[in-house]
Subunit: 159 residues, 2 copies
DNA sequence: TATTGTTATACTCTATAACTATA
DNA sequence: TATAGTTATAGAGTATAACAATA
């Protein structure tokens, strides 16, 4: 069944608002400041990707998960490495690739950051019913998946 | 009641995924390409803001709605003006300010853009139940509001 | 020859600072 | 003197191109 246009036009400003809260730095950068880890946003994205992965990742794999290009990841990893937050291990299976793993301080920094973000989420959702909270997670996940799928279909249709 | 941490940690990657689909250009830039209007993303943001407003807006008002600074809006408006997509009228009530209004071609371009985005939304939500679709809109709106409120409280607490 | 990553460079978007004009 | 906007410049973030090394 066809979703009606009015509902979709409602959705658009909402998504824009959320997107701005997030991406245009405010939320993420505040969380970085609040956690006192002294990194910039791109580095934190790398670090949290590694933390959420739960295992060492290749440069290319990080780039793919973040939907950015390789050279960008290379440089951010260099920053993190100098700060002692990640370390590189040669991939035993492929000498060309290196695996990137967070160090203990790196994992601690990622957790501090998560703590700040989750603290705000907790506050924001404090008055919600448990049903609404779990519905938000479910619908948001499904929407992100369906939209991603629709967009990647565009690539294969008209490359 | 306290939302549980596991649920929130689920939310985070979802929001990141959605945020990247949107803001990191893919969705918006594709829609711009698909609609063939030959503009860049910042200009389109201005144009759609005017279209959704339904009335001429001041430079400062546009900046405020988009949460960007004035000079940025000034320049994008200059681009749009050269392309004949918006026009400026002096505000009769205040000679310092100018009101920006979309022209007929500007409104047409905005509608083409909305058409592309909404087409993808329609596809993505095609298999959803009507209940889920309206729940998504409702929860997303509430979440955006609550999160914005929480973040602006940070400004007043620790400026 | 194909793949993984790095180095060097350029581009897009947005911010800050200094200035002009009207209120 | 405060407010609305503009001009000029700077910065953050990410991409593209050219290259090196291993498979």
């Amino acid at each position: 069944m066809e979703p009606d246009r009015a509902l979709l036009m409602e959705l658009l400003p909402r998504l824009n608002q959320l997107s701005r809260s997030f991406n245009r730095g405010r939320l993420f950068e505040r969380a970085i400041e609040a956690s006192g880890i002294g990194l910039d946003h791109p580095s934190v994205q790398i670090l949290t990707t590694l933390q959420l992965a739960g295992e060492p990742l290749r440069i290319g794999e990080i780039a793919s998960r973040l939907q950015v290009v390789g050279p960008h990841v290379t440089r951010q990893v260099q920053v993190l490495e100098k700060r002692g937050l990640v370390e590189r291990v040669t991939d035993p299976a492929d000498q060309r690739a290196r695996l990137i793993a967070p160090t203990a301080p790196g994992r601690a920094a990622a957790e501090k950051y998560f703590g700040a973000v989750l603290g705000w989420f907790t506050d924001a959702l404090a008055d919600w019913s448990p049903e609404d909270r779990s519905a938000l997670g479910r619908l948001l996940g499904r929407f992100a998946d369906d939209l991603s799928a629709r967009l990647s279909r565009l690539d294969t249709e008209a490359p």
